[in-house]
Structures are given as structure tokens and as C-alpha cells.
Symmetry: C2
Subunit: 336 residues, 2 copies
């Protein structure tokens, strides 16, 4: 079991195992650089045909009349077998002297993006990417329907430096029983200025044009002004939407196209780096706070957070976003 | 040049290159797993005899009557050649629409811990470790004397997953022109409870004994209750001291012994992992705030921060600190 413990120095919550310890050899960094499922004897539980080696599916796209957990699916959502969280019972706060924790209430899902072992997000047919986005939306809105969940994080880990532990293309969704308030800057900006930070960023970037990678019908792709990560980019919906789950079918279609193209550009122009993408969205099932506007963030992981980042939270980024935007733009334009 | 830009979504400062971009191949993750200086043609600028390839030294321990920047030194402090910061002129805030930045005022130093290429912190003679601690103290107090510096971070990056880019044993010191407020929890705790968080942690850990690795004369070594990193440990001074620079000679001596032993235990029991150590201390040259108490944090880097950490700031730690303390304690006891 896990507990969600309060780190009193950092004022952060940590989901920590309460009674077990992963051993040194179980960590993906053991043996440096070898973390593909191939090294685990060549067996991959995410491949089509191996459905019995995963927990029962939560949702799937598959031809009609097929049984759940049978082969033949296009995309599958399953519980994360190594989840720190369990969506069962109620949230309880426990105290021990000056310390406190919550029980590990929450949900952790894996979206298996394809039954095939090798192809990745940037290599999929557009139709498959559209279905992945649609699955993200469905799972987001379904989790938002459980009032015990307060924040939903959709994300992808790709490559060893992105924190991936399996090579088979997949994304993940975590439903947390509290709002981590990591994007609190949006709320504070709204309180101070009375307007949406992301809408104001859109306006300023459209005027200056310095950091634009691409402008589409419904989305703007930019390198942000103060990126934590080298070559970080954002896909920002032009329409003011607080929740990712509000995205409409036209926007879904364009997001599929653009998220695939920018990922292709990242892979192409940055020499096949590890990366994450994460969807920043408003908290759910909490008292309304104005100022949120969801956006899709792509963070190549070409540097490792070092002691200075670990200790101070100040990131050092050796790449000017204005130059990064030019490099990514050039590559983006050549992608189909 | 660098700018210290405000990330408005995260409410964090980012030190970002303003007019250059490191290219994909210049990143340490390029080629996965190869980041030792050996790969750069076998030449190491930190080795004794190569003094002319580093910027002029700031301080050094060397036999009397030796010239600066000549061979024969024991420990050298030099400016970081790739610093994002320059301690020159005054801090200026610049605005551009809704964005703002500071000029990259600050100091970034490297402490070369030995003229020899291979031996590391956990392998040094105790006398050398004492001199390193003494150099940390001297540089800390010297930087604290410049009123433009508001926070001093001493840290070590060891191994690829710790963010090291050179194999030759060294530590670093950054002097920032602002207080990053990453350890603000200590101040908030003091405001709420009227006592020091770290002193209260010491008391509770000494009573429960659950997470103690070692109790010495002047320091307690523990695994903290809510660690962000697997097998994270802290060396905490028992005396309430806000600044690392206040450490007295007896404490220096014991800290040298204990920091070497705990690092040996980390290397030994965790199968030679990457790690950081960082010294958390109070801000300097700012209006007085009660509640700070410095401590030394050792973070093995056996997992890579993945999408969920990047996006939410919530760390998932698969190792119970109570079990980690037992494992580290067992190894610690066998070290000399």
C-alpha cells in the first residue's frame, strides 16, 4: 500500500510506499541505459494477444461484439499494475506527531496505444492518434465523474530519460484525491489581473511572433517564454477552455494532427530524444476557481535535473526558446 | 548571456539562455549512458597539471608559497566555465508585455575536490573530506558577504542520472540573486507553531527511532518521513543553526566523517547509483525570517522524474523510508 505523505519542508505531497522497498536492481537506471521490455526476456504484457497478463481492461476501442480482454482491440485502457493508488473507500487523513498522510486513494491507468510492440505516437496513422485523443477525453470525463478525484493528469513517458519503463507505446492517467496546485500561477494571475493568463499569453505570442512554431485553426503551438526544459513546446487551444474534457470533435481532430506533427518534429530535429507530454488542466470536484485554461506541454528530456534543480526548484535551461521555436518550426513544416 | 525569467504558470524562476541554443549532440543524454570526460578525447580540464584550461582559481588549498593556478594543489575553487550567471553590476528587472526577467546576476563555482581523475568523495582520505567541507564553509561565507546574493546552494552531481557531465570528482556552488523559497515549509511551520520544524523533526525521530540511520555527537542521520527520492537521507545538525556557514570546527570534523560514511553506504548498498547531495540553508541578505535550520540531503537518483512529477510536482516513491533506513543503517555500520 501507499500513503500520500506531506513533505513539510517542501510543502508537497509525496506518494510513498508504506511497507515495501523496491530493490536497487529493480530500478530502471540499474545497468544504465537498458530499460526496454526486451531485456525482461523479450516478453511484453502490452502486446496484442497478451491480454491475460494485464489487469482487466477499463475501456477499449475494438470492433463490435468482441469480448473485453480478448485480442483484436485498437486501443486499451487498463489499471496500472504498479499503481501507488487504489480508488476504494474514502479519503482519510492520519496523523503521527507532527506528520500527516492520506491513504493512497486515487486511480492510475495505462492507455495502451497500439497492440503492436514497436510503432510509436509519432509514427501512427492519424486515425489512431485521433482515437487516442478520444480515449483521453473519455477517461478524463469518466474520472471527473468520481467526486473523490480532484485532479486528473494525462501524460506520456517516452524513453529512459522520460521515465519510461516499457518500450511499448503507451500513455498514463492519474486521478489524485487532492489538487497539487502546481499550476497555481494561472489562478494568481487571474486574481491579480482579472484575465486569463493563457489567453493573454496567446495574444502576446501572436503579436510578437518570436516563439510561434505553428498557428492552426483552433490551436497555437509555441515555445513558452520561460521553459523549464530545453526545446519545451506547448499546444494551446485558442478557445478559453478550463478542462481538457471540454474539447469538441473538430478540436480533437486538429489536436491529433498537431500533436503528432510536433512530436515528429521533436524526434526529427532533436535526434530522437526521450520526452514527456503532459496535459495541464483545471482541478475537478473542487470549489470553482477562475483562471485555468488547459494546454498540452511537450518536454524533451535532454538534461537530467541536477542538484541545483533538486534543491532550489530553479531550472537552468541552456536553450533560448526563441531559437528553439525556429528549429522546431523548420522541422514541423516538413512533416505531413 | 542568460536571463532569469519568470514562469508564470508554475510561479518559478528559470535561468534561460537568451541568445544561444545547445544543440542536440551537446547534451549529456546524447548517445545514452556516455558522459564521462573520457569520451571527450580523454582530456580532463579538472586534472592536476591542466590548470591553464580552467578559468583562474577563486580559492585553493595548496602548500604555502605556491602560485595560484599552478599544479600541486589539494582542492581548487574555480568559476563554472558554463555558468548561467555573472556577478557583475546590479540586478535589473526587465519587462516585455506580461513577461518579466532579471539579468543573470549571480555566481556559479566549481569545487574540484582532488587533482586526481578517478577517486571520488566516498573514497577520499578523511583529511581531504574535511578540507572539502572547510572549502564549502569558506566559499559560503564569502558569497554571503556580497549583498547582491540572496541564496547560496552547495551541491554535488554524481553520475549520469544525477546530472553530472564530468567524471572528475567535484561539487558546485551557486549564488542566486533571489530567494527561490523552495524550503518555505520551514518558515510556514514556524509561523504556525512557533517552533523550528527541523528541531521538531529531530525530537520526533529520536523518540520513534523508526527512521534513524545513525546518531552522532552533533548530527542525526535519518531517512525523512516523506522523501521525494527513493533511499533519500538527511544529515541534520542537532544544534539549531540557520546557515551552513555557522558550523563550528568540531561539527565540521564530524560532518566530514558522517557525510563520507553515508555516501559509502549509499554506494555500497544501492549498487553504485547516481546521486546528488545538496545543502539546504537559510537565504542570505534578506529581511530576517525565523524557522530555517540547515541540513545536508543525499538523494540517490534511481528513478527519473516522469510525466507525473514534471506536471504535478507530486513525486511517487516506491521505497518506504522506514525500510530504506534499515538498509542504509546496516551498510553504514560496516563502513570505517
Amino acid at each position: 500500500m501507499s500513503e500520500i505523505r506531506k513533505n513539510l519542508v517542501k510543502n508537497r505531497w509525496v506518494a510513498v510506499a508504506s511497507d515495501r522497498a523496491l530493490k536497487p536492481n529493480d530500478f530502471p537506471t540499474a545497468g544504465m541505459g537498458i530499460n526496454e521490455s526486451e531485456t525482461r526476456g523479450g516478453f511484453c504484457p502490452f502486446c496484442g494477444g497478451n491480454e491475460e497478463y494485464t489487469p482487466p481492461e477499463i475501456a477499449a476501442y475494438r470492433p463490435d461484439n468482441q469480448q473485453p480482454d480478448s485480442p483484436g482491440w485498437l486501443i486499451r485502457a487498463i489499471p496500472n499494475k504498479f499503481s501507488a493508488f487504489l480508488l476504494e473507500g474514502e479519503l482519510k487523513e492520519n496523523y503521527s506527531g507532527i506528520y500527516s498522510n492520506y491513504n493512497g486513494l486515487g486511480q492510475h491507468e495505462v492507455i495502451i496505444e497500439t497492440p503492436e510492440h514497436s510503432p510509436e505516437y509519432h509514427e501512427f496513422e492519424l486515425e489512431r492518434v485521433e482515437k487516442i485523443i478520444s480515449m483521453f477525453k473519455n477517461r478524463y470525463n469518466s474520472l471527473a465523474g468520481d467526486t473523490r478525484i480532484k485532479y486528473i493528469q494525462i501524460y506520456k513517458n517516452r524513453g529512459m530519460f522520460g521515465g519510461a519503463s516499457l518500450g511499448h507505446s503507451h500513455s498514463q492517467i492519474v486521478g489524485l484525491p487532492f489538487d497539487p496546485q502546481e499550476n497555481e500561477g494561472m489562478v494568481q494571475y487571474y486574481e491579480q489581473k482579472g484575465s486569463c493568463l493563457i489567453c493573454d499569453i496567446l495574444k502576446q505570442e501572436q503579436e510578437s511572433k518570436e516563439r510561434i512554431i505553428y498557428e492552426g485553426e483552433n490551436f497555437l503551438i509555441i515555445c513558452p517564454y520561460a521553459p523549464r526544459f530545453a526545446y519545451e513546446s506547448w499546444i494551446v487551444p485558442k478557445r478559453h477552455m478550463e478542462h481538457f474534457g471540454e474539447i469538441n470533435p473538430l478540436e480533437e481532430k486538429e489536436l491529433a494532427l498537431l500533436s503528432r506533427k510536433i512530436t515528429m518534429a521533436v524526434i526529427d530535429s532533436l535526434d530522437n530524444p526521450s520526452y514527456n507530454f503532459v496535459i495541464n488542466s483545471a482541478p475537478v470536484n473542487v470549489p470553482y476557481q477562475a483562471g485555468y485554461h488547459w494546454f498540452w506541454e511537450i518536454t524533451p528530456r535532454m538534461l537530467v535535473a541536477a542538484g541545483v534543480e533538486v534543491a532550489t526548484g530553479v531550472y537552468i535551461n541552456p536553450v533560448a526558446p526563441e531559437l528553439a521555436a525556429n528549429i522546431l518550426k523548420e522541422s514541423f513544416q516538413t512533416m505531413l
